[in-house]
């Protein structure tokens, strides 16, 4: 237990910050930024499983993100089913789709696989922008939950089940997002330290080595992809509940897929902290630039973020966490050196 506390001390510090800051700074824009950070970090963790740990580059995670957003929204709007169940349903649909598509697609390697993943998201974007049942080009605007289901407050449990995902109660919604992010983070960290995580990393580095020590690469890649699709889809549900409006070009485009890629690459590819660190920087920059320049500064944060990515990845391919690890190693070595000197 003490070991876990020590190993993940950074996680506990960050958790404390995420609990305290929203209470200390009670402004809507800060709360919104924190929710954005958590949603994109969630999907970043998902993307990190298949690309960071397992080494199969996906440029199409918007596909699963979008399915999550659409599934829970359709179930809520058309069938009055709580987004919690919609979230699970979306996750299962995403995982099933990931399984079916990638069962064959994992025959592709490297760039070819990445291009194929991109195509999947683009195909879904086209389908959803033409599909009238889900609103086609108009998309779906979410009705406030209390207006949709007026008698929600029968019992405390029912109230919690519905209202914890109503973004009009911004603070409870923020903490719900935080809780779900924590669950995903813990699952990812646990997987990284298990046999599955070791096998994923072996596959990332060499399929041939993996096979030579008894690993069936396709099965482990499929497992990573399905879990990844599930978590990305959960992020999609949160996005829909938060944004209160979805259409195909909001949730399925390449630019959305790239956000997951960029925050993770900046924070640290293949590191469980990567997505959250990257996401914090991305959205803090966004907030900072808006505060500094007002609306005239739109896009300025993107320029700074782009420059930052180039800078960081050129000095350390493993992102900011890679730099942190290097400094930590150097400090440890310095300490040892100092001790032996005495």
């Amino acid at each position: 237990m003490v070991n876990i506390m020590k190993k993940y001390s950074l996680a506990f510090v960050m958790l404390a910050a995420f609990i305290i800051i929203p209470l200390a700074v009670r402004t809507t824009d800060v709360h919104n930024v924190i929710i954005y950070i958590l949603i994109y970090a969630m999907v970043g963790e998902a993307w990190n499983l298949i690309t960071g740990f397992t080494g199969q580059t996906s440029f199409g995670h918007a596909a699963y993100f979008g399915i999550g957003a659409y599934t829970s929204t359709v179930m809520l709007e058309y069938f009055h089913i709580t987004p919690w169940i919609g979230m699970l349903a979306g996750g299962l649909i995403s995982a099933a789709l990931a399984f079916i598509i990638n069962f064959k697609m994992f025959k592709l390697k490297g760039h070819y696989f990445a291009i194929a993943t991109l195509c999947v998201a683009e195909i879904l974007k086209t389908i959803f922008s033409k599909w009238t049942w889900v609103g086609a080009g108009d998309g779906i605007a979410l009705t406030p939950i209390t207006a949709l289901i007026p008698d929600v407050g029968k019992s405390a449990v029912a109230k919690l089940a519905w209202l914890s995902l109503d973004v009009r109660n911004r603070l409870p919604f923020l903490y719900t997002t935080l809780a779900v992010f924590c669950v995903i983070f813990i699952i990812c960290a646990a997987l990284e330290n298990s046999r599955i995580g070791f096998y994923w990393k072996a596959i990332r580095e060499s399929h041939e080595v993996a096979e030579s020590i008894g690993i069936n690469p396709r099965n482990y890649k499929l497992l990573a992809m399905c879990l990844s699709a599930f978590f990305a889809s959960v992020g999609g549900t949160f996005f829909a509940q938060f944004f209160k409006y979805i259409d195909a070009i909001t949730v399925f485009p390449l630019s959305v897929s790239m956000i997951f890629v960029l925050v993770t690459v900046l924070g640290g590819l293949g590191n469980v902290y990567g997505p959250i660190i990257g996401s914090v920087i991305y959205y803090s920059l966004d907030l900072l630039m808006r505060r500094l320049t007002g609306s005239s500064g739109t896009g300025l944060d993107q320029i700074v973020f782009g420059a930052l990515i180039v800078l960081v990845t050129c000095t350390e391919p493993r992102g900011i966490m890679g730099i942190v690890d290097r400094i930590r190693l150097k400090l440890a070595a310095g300490k040892r050196g100092g001790e032996s000197h005495e």
Partner: protein
Amino acid sequence: MSELLRIENITKKFGSLVANEDVSFTIDEHEIVSLIGPNGAGKTTLFNSIAGYYPPTSGKVFFHGKDITGKPAYEICRLGITRTFQVVKTLKEMTVEENIMTGAFLHTGSRKQAQVMAGEIMEMTGLSDKKNILGGSLTIIDKKRVEIARALATKPELLMLDECMAGLNQTEIKDVMNLCLDLRKNGLTLLIVEHIMEAIMPISDRIVVLNVGRKIAEGIPSDVVNNEEVIKAYLGDRYHAEGN
């Protein structure tokens, strides 16, 4: 001694190129058998056919009397045959310990147990003091050690070493030779592809010689080095003279 591996009439063609033609031999339990031959003789191809990296065009491979021809590599590993690679494939971003643990996970789901197994193997292969070094920053001899250690962690019955001594100096070669003999003492069977005659001759029980895809000789080392055809094809007159 009972038979462990039997190779029957293996032929492997890549298009019109015949890499192996009608090769047959057997390996008994606790034997060290070496596969030698000049460059392009088809040694690595044969290796790959046995280990499941590609299926032979024709012919069969039997392990413990069971037909394993054409099974995928990971299944063959689970049956008890593990190989190393001629060009070492250390998992660069994992530490030495993690490299070996990855192999050990074949027999346990528990991280602790895998760590214990890795510890034993690092002891045996002389890697204990390097366990926290990343695979990518090791010297070539240590990379080769890790390559063998990772294979050993899968607890194979038959270990197949592909040119694990190339590029090593005299002392390092001695280390690997002793390791091979130790492994055999521990009950393993070894199939070794090697170029370095001085290393291979003293430790091998039997030698199979390939040339241009065909088996041209098989026997105990002293017979093989005196075989006219082998000398002509591979060893050259100089070694022949030294051998006498």
